[in-house]
Subunit: 379 residues, 2 copies
């Protein structure tokens, strides 16, 4: 770098940092004892890494790469623009290599295990661990007759599952989004914490939640109809989502629900069975609940589009079965969930809409959506 | 780099690669769909990363940094020397920055979340997921009266815990090593898989396993004696291990065991209570079981040193209570576990030793140690 360029860079850095409030604190998602990354009250993320021989290091968050600056010890530091409240995937870029930040914990999303950061939120109390009766998130393997392989899932059991050993519980089947997997809802989604807090506050009834993988459900012997399911039924966009929903529907109906109802104390009927999902998982929920109108009484679609009045007005079985149809999105997503709920109410569906303030297509929207949805179901 | 140096590097690379068997396959610990890192039949690890603007990239595994070589597309590739069978922590070094390999899954060890790789082992069948009755690994939070904080643990429940809802079970308290945490035994240790397979083969009786964090158990109000516990009792090296064992002992006896016996269907007596650990966790097991001779009937120390004849020959309560005292290590560790077991047998202790063939102070030693120990206890 030439001397003039260094001077120019310093001027740019100085003018930018003049606006930065120096109250950065380590993120809650950091590895134990790690100071960086940090977040300040403006919700800017500051990353730091030792890379003495690197030519260029960038902080890559929210679709933007921010240049970091090297000090005389070879430590690179840099800040992002203010981020939304809640959880974001991010990474570092070192001389063209995109790598996880060694300071953060790692989460599965964007089709990779990599760095995540939680930006403090005004309402974070609802997903903060408290000294209330604790359920558990159970990691399980089970044999799938559809894929003919062992599959991997997480099952939330509420505290009362252990303390009241004769009681049976309703079940919510809760799905992740594209590029995510069965770990998302419990790790970055904070499902167990949200539920324990809601149940302790008597805002939700205790229920079981099964979180599986909606993307790796390839049948070992695909039937012709299983390859292109629900076309025409799924409404606009049905063909693309059907490809995912069809394979997952097989596994859900033939393996996941039977495994759950066999292994756990479950009230195994329609009125005690719910399905919800975020983004792609919401689209899968849409397709699967429409194609199986008497299987689930409660339905949630978080940033996963909407049901249309047209596809439900003559769906007698669906309307008789459904108790709650919940559609949500982030305020920055501008999905027509309010209009859709009003439309559905006009044909007798008990529809709800929720818009997460000031969030986009990210986990804060979905944490809040679960928080809202969980209070409506099995009541 | 000068031309002569490049030529010299190419010669070195060529002579090394002449001995490399080109049957590399993606590691089982890779992120889904990732080709690299790979392992070949010589147990060499080959890493690869795109870093077009980097000057130097190294594979850092087993305490050695191996130079990687850049191709015309900016992709760096390099191999390690042959590694032992089993699990190893590793990382990449890009222009002086030590970072996780974006191809691997991440594990907690060496005091960081970072890359791990499983090198195939001749005996890997015992820790391979099979279609047998499956238990679960349950993630739980609980309130600690000692630290006055919420703590985090994993609890293995055998399949029969769910299928036989009136049965009570014995419990093993199983601890990790220095630089590791409560995730180690279930993730890289494969505890749940090992136990499900052993129980299905009727080689072990079903029991519960509680895996907690042995390093972060700082009492909120440390008692004077809790700050320097078990001195003199713990034998050689007792002072250093006592500092960890003392704090953890408080949490184990006052919080973890009561929490377990309250929340789960446990046979809550000495004859159905075991403690074991690896490395530092073995030393903690040593100190805690010695200081509480009537609390645990079964004791396992995996690469965690040995009990001495001198400290047990007059320990009447310990000898009356203890049913199995198991000491193991890796063959490359050369710990005197066989001599120690023989010494202890001579004073009436039911001592066992096990040496894991051709492994060092690493997880393959500890997977095998758990496999052996689990077959001896609660019988």
């Amino acid at each position: 770098m030439k001397k003039g360029l260094i001077a120019a860079a310093l001027i740019v850095a100085a003018s930018a940092s003049a606006q930065v409030v120096e109250d950065f604190k380590p993120a809650s998602t950091n590895q134990e004892g790690r100071q960086y990354p940090m977040v300040n009250s403006q919700r800017m993320v500051r990353a730091q890494i030792l890379a003495p021989e690197a030519n260029s290091v960038k902080l890559d968050i929210g679709g933007v790469k921010y240049d970091m600056v090297k000090d005389e010890k070879g430590v690179w530091t840099g800040e992002s623009a203010p981020q939304d409240e809640g959880f974001h995937y991010y990474q570092l870029n070192i001389d063209g290599a995109s790598v996880p930040d060694p300071g953060s914990k790692y989460y599965y999303g964007a089709s990779r295990w990599g760095s995540g950061i939680d930006v403090p939120a005004a309402d974070e109390d609802f997903y903060t661990v408290k000294n209330v009766p604790q359920g558990s998130i159970n990691e399980v393997y089970y044999y799938s007759t559809v894929t003919e392989q062992m599959r991997h899932a997480y099952v939330y059991l509420p505290a009362e599952y252990y303390s009241n050993p004769s009681k049976k519980f309703p079940v919510l089947y809760l799905q992740h989004g594209m590029g995510e997997n069965e770990t998302g809802w419990s790790a970055q989604g904070k499902t167990g914490i949200i539920m324990d807090n809601l149940i302790a506050a008597k805002k939700a009834v205790p229920f079981i939640i099964v979180m599986d993988n909606g993307l790796n459900a390839r049948p070992a012997h695909p039937a012709p109809e299983a390859q292109q399911p629900q076309q025409g039924q799924a409404g606009p966009g049905g063909r693309r989502r059907g490809n995912f929903a069809g394979a997952f529907q097989e596994v859900l109906l033939k393996d996941i629900i039977p495994m759950t109802e066999k292994n756990y104390r479950v009230i195994a009927d329609t009125q005690h069975r719910a399905m919800a999902g975020l983004s792609m998982g919401g689209m899968q929920t849409h397709s699967i609940t429409l194609a199986n109108p008497t299987t689930f009484a409660y339905i949630g679609m978080f940033s996963g589009g909407t049901f249309n009045k047209q596809e439900l007005e003559n769906a007698a079985d669906f309307k008789k079965t459904n108790k709650v149809l919940f559609m949500s999105c982030g305020g920055k997503e501008r999905m027509p969930v309010v209009d859709a709920a009003n439309d559905l109410k006009s044909i007798g569906i008990n529809a709800y809409s929720y818009i997460s303030p000031e969030t986009a297509h990210e986990w804060q929207t979905w944490r809040r959506s679960l928080f809202e949805f969980a209070q409506l179901i099995f009541k």
